[in-house]
């Protein structure tokens, strides 16, 4: 394998990691602040993708679609928080898992009811289509570069939001001691709705961006949901920094596993079998990584609490 290809694959790993980060950021934020496991995060991702595809098809503008995806997911998030989620904060994780599992069923089948079972069309806008030549002669898709940019922007934005703003102070105080912050006169109910809607908006954005180069269909949120959970568990639940590092680790492990394991196996066995076994191992690689991290550090890499 040439050096250039290797670098390109590393870039792909980082890109796929940042894509996961968009998804994981909202998930870890919601867990960090409210202590809630939200399986329905993948459904909000799907809502974002469907809203983007629907509005883009109706108006012909991808950018309006993108705005709609954020708005729709945030609205869906806020409604769900007020109607369901806020009853779950005081419950144990089992109740949270099951209630949000129920939400997955409702969202998925509801979407299928509205949009039918056939996948929707959503494509890259003209301004971002095609590829550019990076230094070193690497041909790289412009849209993927945009995803890298969006991921980094969200990371910086979240660090600033948590570190520098009033809401950030409240969020951090809320993580540390919920009773205290309520005692200080902060409307904790409103804060929670806001944080949940923010997490949902991030999921919606991820859904629209990723849906643009993938398939927009019912059920698209589930595989990525599991990956996002792997990410935040590796990073340490509740930590934005952990989510970023975890996402990059998972993205790189997955990509490099897929690229390197099959040729590695073909060094000492027949090609067809090697590619098959290598690919099998690659599909397990991130789960092996997660198990290893948890065995060594049961609270994840940057975990504050379990």
């Amino acid at each position: 394998m040439s050096m250039i290809l290797l670098i390109e694959q590393l870039l792909n790993g980082i890109q796929s990691g940042l894509m996961l980060f968009l998804m994981a950021a909202g998930l870890t934020l919601v867990f960090g602040v409210m202590g809630l496991i939200n399986l329905a995060h993948g459904s909000l991702y799907m809502v974002g993708a469907f809203a983007c595809a629907g509005v883009a098809a109706a108006t012909g503008s991808f950018w309006l679609g993108l705005a709609a995806s954020i708005a729709a997911a945030a609205a869906a998030g806020a409604i769900v928080e007020v109607a369901v989620i806020r009853r779950l904060y005081a419950r144990d994780h089992l109740d949270q898992v099951l209630a949000t599992f129920a939400l997955i069923l409702i969202f998925s089948e509801g979407t299928r009811w509205l949009y039918g079972s056939f996948p929707l069309y959503l494509n890259v806008p003209a301004a971002l289509s095609g590829s550019v030549t990076l230094p070193g002669g690497i041909q790289y898709s412009l849209f993927r570069l945009a995803i890298i940019g969006a991921g980094l922007a969200v990371a910086v934005g979240l660090f600033l939001l948590i570190g520098k703003t009033r809401i950030g102070v409240q969020v951090r105080a809320g993580e540390a001691d919920r009773e205290m912050i309520a005692g200080l006169g902060v409307d904790i109910g409103r804060l929670y709705t806001l944080v949940f809607a923010l997490g949902a908006a991030l999921a919606g954005l991820a859904g629209a961006l990723v849906g643009t180069i993938q398939s927009v269909q019912v059920g698209m949120g589930e595989p990525v949901l599991i990956l996002a959970f792997v990410v935040i568990v590796i990073g340490g639940i509740g930590s934005i920094k952990g989510a970023l590092i975890g996402a990059l680790l998972v993205g790189l492990t997955d990509t490099m596993g897929r690229v390197l394991l099959p040729p590695l196996f073909s060094l000492f066995m027949e090609t067809s079998a090697a590619t098959s076994i290598g690919a099998a191992l690659a599909s397990m690689a991130i789960y092996i990584l997660m198990a290893l991290v948890l065995v060594v550090r049961p609270g994840g890499l940057f975990g504050a609490r379990a």
Partner: protein, 391 residues
Amino acid sequence: MTGSKTGIHRETRMTRYLTTTALALSMIGGAAMAEPVKVGMITTLSGGGASLGIDTRDGFMLAVEEAGNPELEVVIEDDQQKPEIAVQLSDKMIQSEDVDVLTGIVWSNLAMAVVPGATRQGKFYLSTNAAPSQLAGKGCHENYFSVSYQNDNLHEAAGAYATNEGFGTMFIMAPNYPAGQDSLAGFKRFYEGEVASEVYTQLGQTDYAAEIAQIRDSGADGLFFFLPGGMGISFMKQWAEAGIDMPVVGPAFSFSQDILPAIGDAAIGVKNTAQWSKDIDNEANAHFVEAFEAKYDRLPSLYAAQGYDTARLLLAAMDKADISDADAFREALRAAEFDSVRGKFSFGPNQHPVQDIYVREVVSEDGTLTNKIVATAMEDRGDAYAEECKM
């Protein structure tokens, strides 16, 4: 478009689907000679894979309604694309509904769960799509007919096409599961050039950046891939973005009418192999395409055509023999005396089709993406497993 579609769902949902005005007619007629035939259709009507099952069902029911045969009753159930649900439904249909014929399964893993048990209990199974190699070779059965193809066929045709086109090296790719492994084996069976690289992706994978970089780097003359459903949509969109100038060929699954709109213009120009296309020139096909579009307000896919042919085969057999005489009925099925929308159609010794397989190109017709035949990849192709079948 979504409105009309959901309308169809509701209309055909009833689990007991008495065809047309069946009861009334048979009572008035009174002289109906044939035994009634009860068909159990198990197909995927919910979840991510529902579009394939819906097309299968709609194609099948179109033929049933057109025939208006009062002796045919169809029961339709949703398998949710889960093998254990499919088994349960087949148990229900065999044990309580007392069906004579089962059909409709889209996925090979579900077919493997249902078919061996059903045929051993003396029921006929007519496959509208899935036809795994196990059921074509050693596991063949006199009550099992595949009306679609044998799973390897379209991949073999892609291999033959790549050879004919003189592609010296090919990059080949499929998901890492039995159908994917069969796909690459099928392709290599008829491809005479050199395989530049063979890659297995993860089942359900949605991001193909790493694979696309490998493909670009391989410098192969062409790309063959088999990625059904959402995987194919994702891959084609990302492939188009990468802007690689390499001919692409694959089996029809990633370019069938149900998912072409979702891929968009990225699919234009891609070659894909299929045993059916809406522009095959024969009377049955012209009628089918027109009637399907009129009834469901969308173009038929490969799955719809296979469903339609399956129902027509069954109806033709019903005209010739009584279901109560299993041997005679089996002979009538084997004879396959119906006008297939594919034109020529007959069964090989293992009761899988012997048929022509075409190369189609994705084109845009008045803004609608669809397929057009550009070549014939294989003529009168049977399958690689017929010899292993001892019937």
